[in-house]
Amino acid sequence: MPKLSVYFIRAALLYLLAGFTLGALLLTQKGLPFAVEIWLLRPLHIEVVIFGWILQLVMGVAFWMMPRFAEAPFRGDERPAWLAFICLNLGIWLNLISFLIYDAALLGLAGRALEVLAIVLFARHLWPRIKPFADKLAAKGRE
């Protein structure tokens, strides 16, 4: 597994932990109300599990498993994918903060814009790798 995938997938697992904790708090509040403020965490839960967990895991696995090239650099230009990792996580955090403070429309906009940028950068990286698997030569670059 390449280094960037380790980053993506470990981050995804941390978000899983955070997101499930938020979910468990919400379900507890729903089943046995104890503090109505818990409901403020609902948009955070959705942001964390969808962008932090599911999306980030898919990106990590795609970077690892999609076909490589026959010659180095086997995964092509990795820089847009690294930038995508940074933008995605910055975007998630801006969104999370925007859910918790008043008057945060601009912050929310910036967060979502960073997430869009992350997806575009990632697609830019992955696009040429959507192709038939390279021959045995590529196996040399296998990680």
Binding site: P2, V6, L16, F20, L27, G31, P33
Partner: protein, 139 residues
């Protein structure tokens, strides 16, 4: 494909179909104005889809394909894998029995089931992270 992965992935497929059937039922209920209470099933639909289907197949495929842990236990503890399977699916089942019907904690039985469901799903997530973490590595 290891047995545990087959169980996760096949159960995941069952949730995929079940969640869409549930949604279909909701739409039929709404279209026929049969039972407006069906909207209380919307969160269940999303979690059958995202937890029962997507997360469950992720767990199944990662158990199968992620880098080996070490020589003695290439995939980690299989028994722990079954505990995760039981907690996730037990949690989703308890959730189906409680979440759509709870009304602000007025029924102690439903409250208890919802709390158990929350605990079981959380446990499934936490144990999965602990179990797969050492397998997310270079090589």
């Amino acid at each position: 494909m290891p047995t545990l992965s087959r169980w996760f992935i096949k159960t995941g497929l069952v949730y995929f179909v079940a969640s869409l059937l549930l949604s279909l039922l909701q739409k039929m209920g709404a279209a026929g104005e049969i039972w407006s209470g069906l909207s209380a099933f919307t969160p269940l639909f999303y979690h059958w889809l995202m937890l029962g289907w997507i997360t469950q197949i992720i767990i199944g495929v990662s158990w199968w394909m992620f880098p080996r842990r070490d020589r003695e236990q290439p995939r980690g503890s299989e028994r722990m894998g079954w505990v995760i399977y039981g907690a996730l699916n037990g949690g989703l089942l308890l959730r189906a029995l409680s979440e759509p019907f709870v009304v602000r904690g007025t029924d102690p039985l439903l409250s208890g089931l919802a709390l158990l469901a929350a605990l079981a799903q959380w446990l499934a997530g936490a144990l999965y992270v602990a179990q797969i973490w050492p397998r997310v590595k270079l090589k």
